[in-house]
């Protein structure tokens, strides 16, 4: 074939060479897919075998701590080879995350006995793959390895979102009071940190560690800072959250986005005068949030305000106002229907009907 190609015109030679390149590339791809698949199957099989042996043992150590019996079982169990370290680390971390109190402490002692700290250090220093770095950071965090502090802080600014979040979580595990300042800085600077994941990290730090730093950061921060951090106020001590909200809403000049963030989390009666005032705010989303908040906190004197909002030009304001009215605990079905009949605005009446129907179905 090659002789034929060599003696042919340039087109045939070019076609043959390009086809061969395509065939070789396809073969490499095919082989890669097969290898990937086989490795995945082997990985799963090895993981199942590992879990069958180690999960009961780790669970027992978490419950009872290391006593002579668990110690003996541990000695009888073959330690995983270096290739299977990540199974052990992963299993131990999953168990750590599902425990609280003494169980966690038992498991930390078991972790040191198993040499997890050394395994994690080796993984972290070698920087072989993202998966290993993630495992190492989480393990060192769960172990409370203060000596790893600087190495984990360096990961906090990793371009990889997951690794940076893991580092934040680990730092909060090691020393939440020291970590929270750095975590707050990153919450503000990293656009890629999703609220749900950040809340998970803050939960790890605990209300005791986050309350005062969040309070200070919000009150001293710019409107952008305030808007971003206020959404995490439900996770701090209630008195501190209420103080922050009250202080912000009492300001004469306050950014609209900050008002919105405050209204989402406000849950104290002190805020009622502000909420009532904000039902006539020029921005529709502020009116909407004020209506929702009045539904949570308002009294019978607020029905008139909420009825007024049913004539708002924005759909969502009407919807939340109607929901707020229907959700007020002191109004029964009959009173609501009387109110509905008194609504003269056709859009407001439609919305009232919709929300009453929703309540009936629910």
């Amino acid at each position: 074939v090659w002789d034929f190609a060599a003696s042919s015109d340039p087109f045939v030679r070019f076609a043959l060479v390009s086809s061969l390149v395509a065939v070789v590339a396809t073969a490499v791809l095919f082989a890669s897919v097969v290898v990937l698949r086989l490795r995945l199957l082997a990985h799963r099989r090895a993981q199942q075998e590992f879990i069958a042996t180690w999960r009961p043992l780790l669970t027992e150590m978490a419950i009872r701590g290391i006593d002579p019996e668990t110690d003996q079982r541990l000695n009888e169990t073959k330690m995983p080879t270096r290739d299977a370290w990540h199974f052990l680390l992963n299993e131990w971390n999953v168990l750590q995350d599902s425990l609280k109190g003494s169980g966690r402490q038992h498991l930390i002692r078991a972790g040191y006995k198993l040499g997890l700290d050394q395994m994690a250090w080796t993984m972290l220093k070698k920087r072989r793959s993202l998966g290993e770095q993630l495992l190492a950071v989480v393990t060192l965090g769960h172990l409370g390895e203060i000596s790893a502090w600087n190495d984990i802080v360096a990961k906090l600014d990793s371009r990889n979102t997951l690794l940076s979040l893991m580092a934040a979580k680990a730092l909060c595990n090691i020393d939440p009071d020291r970590a929270i300042g750095m975590v707050i800085d990153r919450i503000l600077s990293r656009e890629d940190w999703a609220g749900a994941r950040v809340a998970g990290v803050l939960l790890e730090a605990g209300a005791g560690a986050i309350s005062q730093p969040l309070h200070d950061a919000i009150l001293a921060g710019s409107p952008t800072t305030q808007e971003k951090l206020i959404s995490f106020l439900p996770m701090v001590y209630k008195a501190i959250a209420s103080h922050v909200i009250h202080k912000l809403l009492s300001k004469e000049i306050i950014d609209d986005s900050v008002i919105g963030a405050c209204l989402k989390v406000s849950d104290g009666p002190l805020e009622l005068p502000h909420l009532r005032r904000l039902t006539s705010h020029p921005l529709w989303h502020v009116r909407m949030l004020a209506a929702t908040a009045l539904g949570r906190l308002g009294g019978s004197e607020d029905c008139r305000l909420l009825l007024g909002l049913l004539a708002d030009r924005e759909w969502w304001v009407r919807y939340r106002a109607a929901q707020a009215l229907v959700g007020l605990p002191f109004l029964d079905q009959q009173q609501l229907e009387i109110m509905r009949d008194k609504v003269t605005d056709p859009y407001g009446r439609d919305m009232f009907d919709q929300v009453l129907a929703e309540a009936a179905v629910a």
């Binding site: 070019f14 992963n90 999703a194 998970g200």
Partner: protein, 468 residues
């Protein structure tokens, strides 16, 4: 041209097409392999910072249905069993001619619901909205036929939640599908859309809307289809995604941020590939927004960097047209102002023959630009009735620094434009002004130099300052 020549050209055309197509597929496949390897590595860690469920976004599932009486019940039942904290299902009966609506009403005990329908995206007329008395998160919208895109738009209008997921009525979802497709939104809060991998159910055993057993079809034709879906969804999408160039998210299963979709006008009804068209439009809009944000950010941080001595030299890159460049610079400079330092800009018209070797000329010298007048300048000015040496107060660049520092820089946009000298563009002089103003507000610690100057004739792009 002889027949032989035509055939020869055609051969090259076909070969080039073959190479480009298959070469493209092979490159995409390699990219997707790397993507998959990274995915497996990252997913080997189960102990993620847990997503706090109260902060997870609720999802509206939108199911357009046209003549789906045979499959709609199983599909909706499967959707009702999905594992996710808060979601609603909005089925759109798009003017079906079969019993789709009757089947839904019977199977899910639907009653008429007085929905205060809000038409954010125009659609065909909505006849009625129904709600299930058994499943409070299930609503059915009955509307006139307008096609799948129109049905999806009606669903978006009815959706209550910030994320919506378009699902085909004959799609079969895994119970944890919503969690899986939400993952990118949690991993990166800037995510606006995510698509799931669609595979062919031919040959699989499906019971009550869930896949019980995965198998291949006996039909050769169906096997080709399976291959094509694997190529398109698994390798194609995975290959494009790392490049942030995903051009299509399938309408069969895709999660979107509702407000972004509404802001671009929803699905277009006058096109065949409405899902691809929407994604391309979203790309364009968001890229434009990102560009604008980046420019604003650079300017916002410039002053901070100058005052904290972080900037030792200032490289300025300008892409601006002649028309509008001064306006762009004015906008840019306004952002350098803060409570302590005020930067004002007015266009200053320096007349020819000015002997003063003041700051305007200094600015030009810093830039290495001659401000000497050239032959024909005086005539040009006279044509424009501009008095030589005169200063028009309305056209003046003025930078007022902290304290007594004051730099005035002549721009003379119209004048210099009339002169037609290639280096003496208004942009060049105004840039000198920017550099010197930056030096003034930064305490004269900034050495300004222009490393690159580009003037695009058609572009109206604003001036951009790049800090080295």
């Amino acid at each position: 041209m002889s027949t032989y020549d035509i055939i020869a050209v055609a051969q090259w055309v076909f070969l080039t097409y073959f190479l480009m197509l298959n070469g493209g597929y092979i490159v995409l496949n390699f990219l997707s392999l790397f993507g998959m390897r990274e995915y497996f590595r990252a997913s080997s860690v189960d102990s993620l910072p847990k997503a706090y469920s109260e902060y997870e976004l609720p999802i509206s599932i939108i199911v357009p249905a046209y003549n789906e009486a045979a499959t709609i019940t199983a599909s909706v039942r499967a959707l009702l069993q999905l594992r996710y904290p808060e979601y609603e299902i909005v089925v759109i009966n798009d003017g079906s001619k079969d019993e789709t609506l009757d089947v839904l009403m019977r199977e899910f005990s639907l009653v008429t619901f007085p929905e205060a329908y809000r038409e954010r995206i125009p659609t065909q007329a909505v006849n009625a909205v129904y709600v299930s008395t058994r499943f409070h998160n299930l609503r059915v919208v009955d509307k006139n036929n307008g096609g799948k895109a129109d049905a999806l738009n009606a669903g978006i209008n009815c959706a209550r939640y910030p994320l919506f997921c378009g699902v085909d009525a004959d799609s079969v979802l895994q119970p944890d599908s919503l969690y899986q497709v939400l993952q990118p939104f949690l991993d990166d809060s800037r995510t606006v859309a995510c698509g799931g991998t669609i595979r062919i159910a031919n040959g699989c055993t499906v019971r009550d809307g869930f896949v019980e057993k995965i198998a291949l079809s006996d039909s050769t034709l169906a096997l080709f289809q399976t291959m094509e879906y694997l190529r398109a969804f698994l390798f194609g999408r995975l290959g494009w995604s790392p490049l942030n160039a995903l051009l299509i998210i399938s309408g069969a299963f895709g999660l979107f941020r509702k407000e972004v979709v509404v802001s671009v006008g929803g699905y277009r009804t006058d096109t065949v590939g409405e899902d691809m068209e929407l994604v391309v439009r979203m790309h364009r809009k968001l890229r434009e927004q990102r560009l604008a944000r980046q420019q604003a950010k650079k300017l916002d941080s410039l002053f901070e960097q100058m005052t904290s001595d972080e900037v030792s030299s200032l490289n300025i890159v300008v892409k601006a047209d002649v028309q509008g460049s001064v306006e762009a610079l004015r906008d840019a400079l306004t952002k350098l102002s803060n409570d302590e330092v005020e930067v004002n800009m007015k266009v200053h018209l320096l007349g020819p023959g000015v002997e003063d070797r003041g700051e305007p000329h200094l600015a030009a010298e810093v830039l290495g630009i001659s401000t000497q007048l050239f032959e024909g300048a005086r005539d040009s000015l006279e044509e424009q009735s501009v008095e030589a040496g005169g200063v028009c107060p309305e056209q003046r660049i003025e930078f007022v620094g902290d304290g007594d520092d004051r730099v005035e820089v002549g721009c003379g946009k119209d004048l210099l434009h009339a002169l037609g000298h290639p280096l003496c563009t208004p942009d060049a002089l105004a840039l000198g002004a920017v550099a010197i103003a930056a030096g003034v507000v930064g305490g004269l610690r900034v050495a300004a130099r222009v490393t690159h100057l580009e003037v695009a004739a058609e572009s109206r792009c604003a001036a951009a300052l790049d800090v080295a």
